[in-house]
C-alpha cells in the first residue's frame, strides 16, 4: 500500500515535470516564432499630459493597425504621470508587464536599459527608418537606439498681451532677459496682476531647474560631471538658480497658491487669465490659444538668466518615448507597430489630434498653418536644445530636484538647504545604486 502511494506521488511528479517542461518549451517556441503579424501586444502609454488628444489618437491608430493586421491585438493601458516611473520599475523587477512601455527620455529610459529590462529598438527597426526620427541622440547608448520618439515638446515662454497693457507694459514686447522679466513682474504686481503662474505640487521646481538652472552651463556634460561628483553641485554655476526662484516667491511674483496646487493646475492659470506670464509645452500653448486668443498672447524663448553657452539654447525634448521590453515575446511585432506610428498618415493624424509636432523629419511643415504654431516649430528646430532633468538620475530627480523646488516655493528651505539635499541624495544614489552609478559614470565619461 505504502509502495503504491509512493508510486502515485512519483507518477504525479513526473507528469507535473513534463507539463512544466512542455510549457517552457512552448514559451520558448513562441518567442523564437515571433511573428510580426500575429501577436497580442500590451502597450503602457503616456502622453496626454504633454499633448492633450494623444490618447484618442493612439486609440484611432490601434484600430487602423488591427484592421490592417487582423491577427494583431494591441491592448493600450494608460499610465499616470505620478506612477509612470515606479510602475515600470516594478515591472522591470518582476520581469513581467508590457511589451511596449513609455518613459521619459534619456535616464528614465536608459536606466532600465542598463538594468537589462529593455532591448534596443535599433535591433528591430532598420536604420533607413529610424534615421528619420528626430531627437534620437537622447536615447543612444553603446551605439544603439533604445527608444522611439513620437513627438517634440518645446517649452516656450508666454505672456498675456491684455494684462501687459493693463499694467502699462508694451503688450508686443515680452521679456528677453531676466532683468526685463523682473521689471515686468514688478509692474504687473503693482497693477494687482499675478505676474507669473505655476503649480509646484510636483514638477514646477524641476522645470525651473531645467529652464533656468541650465543657463550657467556651457554643456550638459558639466551637469553629468556634477552628478558623478567630478564637480560640486554647491557651485552657484549649478545651484544658483534656486536663489532666483526664492526671490520670485519672496517678492510675490508667483501666484499665492504656488505651493499647494498641482503642476497641471498651474498651467490652467494662464488659460484662465489669472496670471500674466507662464511657460508650458507646445500642447499647452495650443490649448491657451483657444482660451486666451492668439492675438492676445505672445510666445518666445525663455528669458535669459545665466551666462553659460546653454543660456541661449532652446528647451526641446521628445519628452516621452516608447521602447520594447526584454521579456516581450513579440519584439518584432512591437517594432512593426511602433514603426507604423511613424507612417505619414499617423504623423498627420497625430498633429491634427494634438497640435504637437511629431518627432519625424518626414512631417511636412506645410501642414502648420497657425502663426503661433509656426513660431513654435521654428523654436523647436533651434540648433542647440537640451532638457537637463533628463540627465539627473531618476532617484535624485524625485528626491532632490522635485523636493528641493517644493521646499523653495513653500518657504520651508533656503537655497543652501536645497543644495545640502542634492548632495545627500547624490551620495545616497551612489551607495544605493552602485551598479547604476557605475553605468552612469561610464555613460557620462564615454569610457
Amino acid at each position: 500500500m505504502a509502495l503504491k502511494h509512493v508510486l502515485v506521488v512519483l507518477g504525479l511528479a513526473v507528469v507535473l515535470s513534463a507539463a512544466v517542461f512542455v510549457a517552457g518549451a512552448a514559451s520558448k517556441t513562441a518567442k523564437s516564432g515571433d511573428d510580426p503579424n500575429n501577436a497580442t501586444l500590451t502597450y503602457w502609454y503616456w502622453a496626454e499630459s504633454d499633448a492633450p488628444g494623444a490618447n484618442n489618437w493612439l486609440k484611432g491608430q490601434v484600430a487602423l493597425y488591427e484592421k490592417a493586421h487582423p491577427k494583431v491585438k494591441v491592448n493600450v493601458v494608460l499610465q499616470s504621470t505620478d506612477t509612470l516611473t515606479s510602475a515600470f520599475t516594478t515591472a522591470a523587477q518582476t520581469k513581467s508587464g508590457p511589451d511596449i512601455a513609455t518613459q521619459w527620455a534619456t535616464l528614465p529610459t536608459l536606466t532600465p536599459a542598463w538594468a537589462g529590462a529593455t532591448v534596443p529598438i535599433s535591433d528591430y527597426v532598420p536604420k533607413s527608418e529610424w534615421k528619420n526620427w528626430i531627437s534620437t541622440a537622447e536615447n543612444m547608448w553603446e551605439g544603439k537606439l533604445w527608444a522611439m520618439p513620437q513627438y517634440l515638446i518645446g517649452i516656450p515662454f508666454v505672456w498675456n498681451k491684455q494684462l501687459f497693457k493693463k499694467a502699462g507694459l508694451n503688450p508686443n514686447k515680452g521679456p528677453k532677459t531676466w532683468a526685463e522679466f523682473l521689471a515686468d513682474c514688478k509692474k504687473l504686481k503693482a497693477a494687482g496682476i499675478t505676474p507669473f503662474g505655476m503649480g509646484n505640487h510636483g514638477y514646477g521646481g524641476a522645470w525651473f531647474f531645467s529652464l533656468i538652472g541650465k543657463q550657467n552651463l556651457n554643456s550638459i556634460n558639466e551637469l553629468k560631471d556634477a552628478m558623478i561628483g567630478k564637480q560640486d553641485f554647491a557651485n552657484p554655476k549649478f545651484s544658483g538658480f534656486y536663489q532666483a526662484l526664492a526671490d520670485l516667491k519672496k517678492n510675490g511674483y508667483l501666484n499665492s497658491d504656488v505651493a499647494s496646487i498641482s503642476f497641471g493646475q498651474g498651467f490652467q492659470l494662464f488659460g484662465q487669465k489669472k496670471a500674466a506670464m507662464s511657460w508650458g509645452t507646445d500642447g499647452n500653448v495650443a490649448q491657451w490659444e483657444s482660451q486666451v486668443g492668439a492675438k492676445n498672447m505672445g510666445v518666445e524663448a525663455i528669458p535669459i538668466w545665466g551666462h553659460g553657452k546653454l543660456a541661449s539654447s532652446y528647451d526641446v525634448t521628445q519628452s516621452s518615448d516608447a521602447f520594447i521590453t526584454k521579456w516581450s515575446k513579440h519584439p518584432q511585432a512591437a517594432a512593426q507597430f511602433l514603426t507604423f506610428l511613424h507612417s505619414p498618415e499617423a504623423l498627420k493624424a497625430w498633429y491634427k489630434a494634438t497640435g504637437v509636432f511629431p518627432a519625424d523629419k518626414r512631417f511636412p511643415s506645410s501642414l502648420v498653418k497657425d502663426p503661433i504654431a509656426k513660431q513654435l516649430l521654428k523654436l523647436d528646430q533651434s540648433p542647440v536644445s537640451v532638457w537637463p532633468e533628463n540627465f539627473v538620475p531618476p532617484q535624485v530627480d524625485q528626491n532632490a530636484d522635485l523636493a528641493g523646488g517644493e521646499m523653495i516655493t513653500a518657504g520651508s528651505g533656503s537655497p543652501s538647504d536645497v543644495v545640502k539635499l542634492w548632495k545627500t541624495q547624490l551620495s545616497q544614489w551612489k551607495s544605493q545604486h552602485p551598479d547604476e552609478y557605475n553605468s552612469y559614470k561610464k555613460w557620462a565619461t564615454g569610457s
Binding site: T85, T89, H201, A259, S260, E406, M407, G411, Q428, P434
Partner: protein, 268 residues
C-alpha cells in the same frame, strides 16, 4: 501559511542587506540601515508618524463623547450615527482628492473663510510645510472617527442596564454616570481601539498622504510608508526593505500590545 507569510518576511529581511536591483543584488551588510538612519528625509518621515500619533487621543476623545451622547437614546441618534460613520466607508483616495481641492490656498475652505470675513484664519493648509502634516492628521481623524463611534456605541449598548439604573437611583448625575460608571466599564475596548488606531497611523496612512500632499512640500509631510514606496519606486529595493523591517518591528510591538490588551479583556 509558511509560504504566504514566512517567505516574503524572510525575503524582505534578506533584501535589506543588499543594494542594487533584484537582478544583480550587491551585499552591503548594515549599510542600508545606516544610510536610512542618517537620511534627514527618513527622520522627517518617522517624526511625522510620531506627530500623527497625536490624532489617536483626539479621535478617541471625540469618538467617545459622541458615542456617550448617542447612547442617551437622543432623538435621531441612529441617523447621527450613520452620518458620523459615512466617511469611514468612503475610499481614502476619493476623500484625499476631495480634500486636496478643499484645502488649497485658494480652495473651498479658505474661500469660504474669506467670504465670512474670517480671512485671518485662512492658511495654506497643503503648501505650508508646518501645516501639511496637520492637514493629513485632520483628514485621518475625520475619516476614522466614525469607526471609533460605532465601536464605542456597540460597547456601551452591550453593557448591562442594571448598573446604570442603580447609579441613577443612587443619585448619580449625568457626568458622574458617564465618567464613573459607563466609561470604566468599556475601558478594555478603549484600550484596544487605541492600540488599533496607533497601528493605523503608523502603518496605514499611505493613501491619505500620497493623495493629499505626496509627502510635500519637500519631505515635510512624508511618512515611513511613503518613504518605502519612494525608495521602491526608485529601484532602491534594499533601502525600502530596511525601512519595511523597521516598520514591521514597530508594528509587531504594537500588535503584541494589542494581543495583551485583548487577553486582559478576556480575563476581566
Amino acid at each position: 501559511m509558511a509560504f504566504a507569510f514566512g517567505f516574503p518576511l524572510v525575503q524582505v529581511v534578506r533584501d535589506s542587506f543588499y543594494a542594487g536591483n533584484f537582478a544583480s543584488p550587491i551585499w552591503v551588510g548594515l549599510d542600508n540601515y545606516k544610510g536610512v538612519l542618517s537620511d534627514p528625509a527618513f527622520r522627517q518621515s518617522l517624526f511625522d508618524n510620531m506627530k500623527l500619533l497625536l490624532t489617536v487621543p483626539i479621535m478617541l476623545g471625540i469618538g467617545l463623547a459622541i458615542a456617550l451622547v448617542l447612547n442617551d437614546r437622543i432623538r435621531g441618534g441612529r441617523h447621527y450615527q450613520s452620518v458620523v460613520f459615512l466617511p469611514y466607508v468612503l475610499p481614502a483616495t476619493a476623500i484625499g482628492i476631495a480634500f486636496s481641492f478643499l484645502l488649497q490656498e485658494n480652495g473651498v475652505l479658505n474661500t469660504s473663510l474669506r467670504h465670512a470675513h474670517l480671512g485671518g484664519l485662512a492658511q495654506d493648509w497643503l503648501g505650508n510645510s508646518h501645516l501639511a502634516i496637520v492637514s493629513v492628521g485632520g483628514l485621518v481623524i475625520w475619516q476614522q472617527l466614525g469607526f471609533a463611534v460605532v465601536v464605542f456605541t456597540a460597547a456601551l449598548l452591550s453593557l448591562p442596564p442594571e448598573t446604570a439604573e442603580a447609579a441613577r437611583i443612587d443619585g448619580a448625575g449625568w457626568w458622574q454616570l458617564q465618567l464613573r460608571v459607563l466609561v470604566p466599564q468599556i475601558r478594555p475596548i478603549i484600550e484596544l481601539l487605541a492600540v488599533i488606531q496607533v497601528i493605523t497611523v503608523i502603518s496605514w496612512v499611505f493613501n491619505y498622504v500620497y493623495v493629499l500632499t505626496a509627502g510635500g512640500p519637500g519631505f515635510s509631510s512624508s511618512v515611513m510608508e511613503l518613504y518605502i514606496w519612494r525608495s521602491f519606486s526608485n529601484g532602491s529595493d534594499g533601502t525600502a526593505a530596511s525601512v519595511a523591517v523597521m516598520l514591521l518591528g514597530m508594528a509587531s510591538v504594537l500588535i503584541g500590545l494589542s494581543l495583551w490588551v485583548r487577553k486582559q479583556k478576556i480575563v476581566q
